[in-house]
């Protein structure tokens, strides 16, 4: 009790004297910064940090003598940090001071190893991490050849030596232990890791002192420290693999399978893809194709055709049968395909190589009605076509892009495709006159077997001069294609009117085509000032084309050549263009004005067969033209822009059109040539307006394009009723003055309720006037089309998306020779869709489409409702499994309808295709399937 009283007294009297002295609220903190030898450090940076999380609370700069002071700061714990160039940053823990003045005295800074500072920080520009005594290197700053070991890398690091045996010394001391990610690697030999690991696997190299094993065990510091090294490996995400596989079985013997696998690391990507199905997927979709090509997917836009439009003399090979799904809606297909793709990218060099194989076996039956108008009336043919086509294709593509140095860059690419085509078709054509009286029936059987090869290649070199804005570019390309085929035809023409016996024809054609193109372009850009530039360009191309079609009648003398149908021609187009564009670019305004001189030389020699006498005069045409160009784009400050351009183009006639003899592959349809054809000349103007609201993401765009022809190539028709044969149509190309085309379209997307309901609207008008002679009477066909679409997208929650829309389309076609035959083709549609995650990871998806096609003139009407629905569930660890039950075309109504009206005829085609079936599928995805309904992607 006494003791307690004493203690109370002690506390009562003493405590008030101690406590306020221990914790003044405010304190003045001062000190002097010097180096370890005692020399003052002038103007050091002194920071006060929160000791818990290093947050900067206050800072100051010392004076010339290294003295610093923080006046009247809260009195609490700080981490005082001093930094000065060339010294290891110093950290001092500051505790609350009992006095209002807290002088920390002299703070000594250790000089930073000069070699580390110079070599790492200055030369290698690498971040040097200093954590107490730990020094950390960033290996990516020290270049070693690919395939080097860690040991090779260490030899390059400043302050580290590696002897011939692989022993490592750092800062003059032996490294006794090497850790990998902080753990011992294969026992105690420090060389095991450095000799076996690849240099490219490292993200960090750290060197620090560690207490000896003795200290670790006893817990008593024996004062001995050993130097150790830690090798940090790169993050795992930089390399990896993913893939997915799907198998599906359905009713109507439907089967489908798809698989893909991708492996990648920081520099390389390797991927495989394969598919097979009988559900009309003739290739892979965009999404899968993009993942298959990886970083090589966006490298197809290299342009070596310099100068304004038309400089390219673009040579495009048919891309049908490529890896992408290009099913046109007709018939039934069986498809197989697969490929491998490799990409390499180390920023300086990008390589892409891929191989793809695909095949499609297509069968379909199509019914077409064609109404042909001539001045005397209308005749009609009703066709039934049955086709069985098998196609296979091997394609190889490769591309190399290399940055030689900062001012030189080269791209080399080559694509090769080998194609094989085997087509059998049988066609029945029933002709009637304008009184619906039958004329004749033509039966045709065709058997075509073709093998072809395509090669495209190009090299583009770019150089930047030292003068800003001055550049030079050169390109060269070689393209070739060739095909050989047998085209066997069998005709039977039943002439109904005269009750003549039916007539048989046979034609066996041997067809060979060879085309080679060599082209080159040069471009030189010279800045005139900061805003003005001149681009000068030269384009050259030479295209050689050899076509050989030898037709024989196997029934005549064991295969006598039918001279009238055989042709051999050899021709050449030489193209030269030299021009300049002056450009202005400043503050959102871009203007270009240019002029080019263009020369086209055409040479063609025609004969019945190789080495045989010439047919008619050889074609020797030479066209010279001045080609003007103008363009303007202007951006306003509020995300609005307008653009305008004017172009003039001159395109030479094709050699098929120039040939002096007719091509007859069907006795009722004859195609003549015209060696006197002039090139097509056209002026075109484009106008555009765009607006984007970054706050609501609403946008509006309007575009108009107009073409006016000076000279057009048109196809005149002569339709004659020939006794015992029937109606024969002869088409001949000719030049016609006049004619125009226009198209105008707009689009807009806008939110109605932010984040919930959005709408899209777009539509257009288009039209053209095409003059042509039909039976020597001039017919002007005016086509005007209008179309529009409106759609709504409603996402009330992140579990449900509803969408719907309508579209209308009308084509109005007017014929000057027979205005009573004017056509109005109507195709309207409406759709609705739903995606609903009604139970977590379980989705129901359905869409309904209604297409109405009508032509009142011909009385055609076909309405096609299509309803698809499916339910799917994602399950398993990491959502890797998915099963789906889908019903396609529940109403069993799918057909393919195409309506077309042009020149002097209108056609309506209806083809059968895959209708109702049900399918159950199971998929596995290494990355896991996405849950939730996806509103939008990144694009």
């Amino acid at each position: 009790m006494r003791k307690f009283t004493l203690l109370c007294c002690f506390l009562f009297f003493i405590l008030p004297h101690i406590l306020p002295a221990q914790t003044p609220n405010r304190v003045t903190l001062s000190g002097t910064v010097a180096d370890t030898s005692g020399a003052e450090i002038a103007l050091p940076t002194v920071m006060l940090l929160n000791p818990q999380d290093s947050t900067l609370l206050n800072y100051t700069r010392g004076d010339e003598k290294g003295q610093f002071v923080f006046k009247n700061i809260p009195n609490k714990s700080y981490l005082l940090k001093v930094s000065y160039i060339g010294y290891i940053p110093l950290q001092v823990a500051v505790e609350p001071s009992p006095n209002p003045e807290n002088n920390l005295g002299m703070l000594g800074m250790k000089p930073l190893n000069e070699q580390l500072m110079e070599v790492v920080v200055r030369t290698a520009k690498a971040a040097l991490s200093i954590r107490g005594d730990t020094v950390e290197y960033d290996p990516s700053s020290f270049k070693v050849p690919p395939g080097s070991s860690v040991e090779d890398l260490l030899r390059r690091l400043p302050g580290i030596e590696v002897d011939a045996e692989g022993n490592i010394r750092a800062q003059g001391q032996d490294i006794r232990r090497v850790y990998v990610d902080g753990k011992t690697f294969f026992g105690d030999d420090p060389k095991a890791a450095t000799k076996n690991l690849g240099a490219e696997t490292l993200s960090k190299v750290q060197v620090y002192d560690e207490a000896s094993e003795q200290t670790k065990i006893t817990g008593i510091d024996d004062g001995k420290e050993i130097k150790v090294m830690n090798l940090e490996l790169k993050d795992e995400y930089k390399k990896g693999s993913f893939g997915k596989v799907t198998g599906a079985v359905g009713t109507e013997e439907r089967l489908a399978g798809r698989a893909s696998y991708n492996r990648f690391n920081e520099q390389e990507q390797l991927s495989f893809i394969g598919y097979g199905n009988n559900i009309n997927e003739t290739g892979v979709n965009w999404e899968d194709y993009g993942e298959f090509k990886g970083q090589g997917a966006f490298s197809d836009f290299d342009n070596g055709d310099f100068g304004f439009e038309g400089g390219g003399r673009g040579y495009y090979f048919s891309s049908s049968g490529g890896p992408l799904n290009n099913f046109d809606g007709r018939g039934f297909t069986e498809n197989f395909g697969g490929g491998v793709n490799y990409n390499f990218d180390n920023k300086k060099t990008k390589v892409n190589a891929s191989y793809f194989y695909n095949q499609t076996d297509l069968t379909f039956r199509e019914y077409t009605t064609r109404n042909n108008f001539v001045e005397e009336g209308t005749f009609t043919n009703e066709d039934t076509l049955r086709q069985d086509a098998f196609q296979r294709r091997h394609s190889l593509s490769s591309r190399l892009e290399h940055e030689i140095d900062s001012s030189n860059n080269i791209i080399v690419k080559a694509n090769l495709a080998l194609r094989e085509n085997d087509t059998q078709q049988a066609k029945s054509q029933y002709f009637t006159d304008n009184l619906d009286m039958p004329i004749n029936r033509l039966l045709t059987a065709t058997d075509n077997l073709t093998g072809a090869g395509d090669l495209t290649s190009a090299a583009i070199f770019r150089h930047r001069f030292r003068k800003k804005g001055r550049t030079f570019a050169a390109s060269a390309g070689f393209n070739a294609t060739g095909n050989d085929g047998d085209d066997d035809l069998l005709f039977q023409n039943l002439f109904i009117r005269t009750e003549d016996p039916s007539e048989f024809f046979r034609q066996d054609a041997d067809v060979a085509n060879r085309t080679q193109q060599l082209k080159s372009s040069l471009l030189f850009t010279e800045p005139l000032s900061k805003k003005w530039f001149v681009e000068s360009f030269y384009n050259f191309s030479q295209t050689n084309n050899l076509a050989d079609r030898q037709v024989e009648d196997p029934t005549q003398n064991g295969g006598e050549r039918i001279d009238s149908l055989s042709i051999y021609y050899d021709n050449q187009v030489l193209y030269n263009r030299l021009g300049s564009v002056v450009r202005y670019a400043h503050d959102g305004l871009n203007i270009g004005m240019g002029l080019a001189a263009q020369q086209l030389q055409l040479k063609g020699d025609y004969a019945r067969g190789e080495g045989e006498p010439a047919l008619g005069d050889p074609v020797r045409l030479d066209f010279f033209n001045w080609i003007p160009y103008a363009s303007m784009e202007y951006e306003f400050t509020n995300n609005m822009s307008v653009d305008f351009d004017y172009r003039y183009s001159v395109n030479e006639p094709s050699f098929t059109d120039l040939q002096p003899v007719a091509i007859i592959t069907n006795p009722l349809f004859v195609r003549e040539g015209n060696p006197a054809l002039e090139p097509e000349r056209m002026h075109s103007i484009n106008l555009g307006y765009n607006y984007w609201n970054p706050a609501s993401f609403a946008n509006i765009g309007v575009h108009g394009g107009f073409n006016v022809y000076d000279e057009q190539i048109v196809y005149n028709q002569t339709v004659e009723l020939i006794d015992s044969v029937g109606l024969r149509t002869t088409t001949a190309p000719a030049n016609a003055k006049g004619g125009y085309g226009y198209d105008f379209w707009f689009w807009s997307n806008f939110p109605i309720i932010k984040t919930k309901l959005s709408a899209g609207i777009n539509g257009g008008l288009n039209g053209r006037l095409a003059p042509a002679f039909v039976n020597d009477v001039k017919n002007e066909t005016r086509t005007n089309g209008v179309d529009g679409r409106f759609s709504l997208n409603y996402t009330p929650s992140n579990k449900l998306i509803l969408n719907g829309g309508i579209s209308v389309g009308l084509d109005d076609v007017q014929y000057s020779i027979q205005s009573q035959q004017n056509q109005q083709l109507i195709s309207n549609s409406a759709y609705a869709g739903v995606k609903w995650e009604f139970v977590p990871k379980t989705f129901v998806e359905s869409n309904f489409n209604y297409n109405a096609n009508r032509n009142d003139q011909t009385g055609f009407e076909q309405n096609v409702p299509i309803w698809n629905a499916s339910v799917r569930r994602i399950f398993g660890p990491k959502n890797r499994w998915e099963t789906r039950l889908a019903a396609f075309d529940l109403l069993d109504r799918r057909v393919n309808v195409v309506q077309r009206a042009t020149q002097n005829y209108v056609t309506t085609s209806v083809a059968e295709t895959l209708a109702q079936y049900f399918m159950l599928s199971l998929s596995y995805n290494v990355r896991g399937f996405e849950t939730g309904v996806k509103k939008r992607g990144f694009w």
């Binding site: 920071m47 900067l56 966006f298 400043h586 959102g588």
Partner: protein, 255 residues
């Protein structure tokens, strides 16, 4: 004979005062910053987009998604002005000009104020308020940027979801920095946002006296005056909306 002598001595007397009028070395001048955008890394930083779509963007675009632009900054001991450069680092873009949104960031260190003239979601604002600088954490790394040894500091912008790594010069005693960043004991010469999604690094620094005119906001365009809190709330609202729509917010906002 006396007159030139007098003149000379006057000149000699005036020299030290002239020299004092000029800011000491490293106090004023001009900095050009090179910005490197990496779109796939920007996408990777959007936690509300699905993991699959972010990985896919990385796989497909990878290193092809980079593009570069220049920014400039004038600074003095009292103030700094950061703005878009007329120059372009990409020679392919030299012959084409885009309209640029207003973006002038002014920091008045003497008066502790900030006034930023900038276009935000299609509207131009003047964000005028007392100076706010991030609460930096000071780290331990050293690196050279544009010839200056820098120390690192970090800050997390919770609104935009950005982790910033700043490198500030130990020998440029200015608390200025690129974009809307400030408040370190030395000038910020490099900023790395979200591990390379956006890197802003000084590539040319010149020291010379800068007159006040170069540090002033342009008189045009005019912007609606708002406070820092209002600016933050416009950003927050926009980002929340894009998050709801599962769209990247940086299509419409400066990253």
């Amino acid at each position: 004979m006396k007159l030139p002598l007098l003149f000379l001595s006057l000149l000699l007397l005036a020299l030290p005062t002239l020299a004092q009028e000029l800011p000491a070395d490293g106090q004023a001048g001009h900095v050009r910053f090179l910005i490197t955008h990496n779109w796939t890394k920007k996408m990777a930083s959007l936690d509300y987009m699905s993991e699959q779509s972010r990985q896919k963007a990385q796989y497909m675009w990878g290193s092809r998604s980079e593009w570069k632009e220049y920014m400039e900054m004038y600074f003095s001991p009292d103030a700094s002005l950061y703005f878009l450069s007329e120059e372009s680092p990409d020679p392919d873009l030299e012959t084409y000009s885009w309209k640029k949104d207003a973006y002038f960031i002014r920091r008045d260190f003497a008066g502790a104020r900030q006034s930023d003239l900038l276009t935000l979601t299609g509207k131009t604002y003047l964000v005028d308020d007392s100076l706010r600088c991030p609460a930096w954490k000071i780290l331990n790394d050293l690196k050279e940027v544009a010839g200056h040894v820098c120390m690192s500091a970090s800050w997390v912008d919770t609104l935009k979801g950005q982790t910033m790594l700043a490198w500030f010069a130990l020998d440029i005693p200015s608390s200025a920095g690129p974009e809307r960043l400030c408040g370190l004991p030395g000038m910020i010469l490099e900023i790395d946002i979200n591990n390379g999604a956006l890197v802003i690094a000084a590539d040319k620094i010149d020291f010379y006296p800068v007159d006040a005119g170069k540090l002033a906001l342009p008189s045009k365009p005019k912007g609606k005056k708002i406070s820092e809190a209002e600016y933050q709330s416009i950003l927050a609202k926009y980002i929340a909306e894009k998050r709801e729509n599962q769209e990247p917010w940086f299509w419409g906002l400066r990253y």
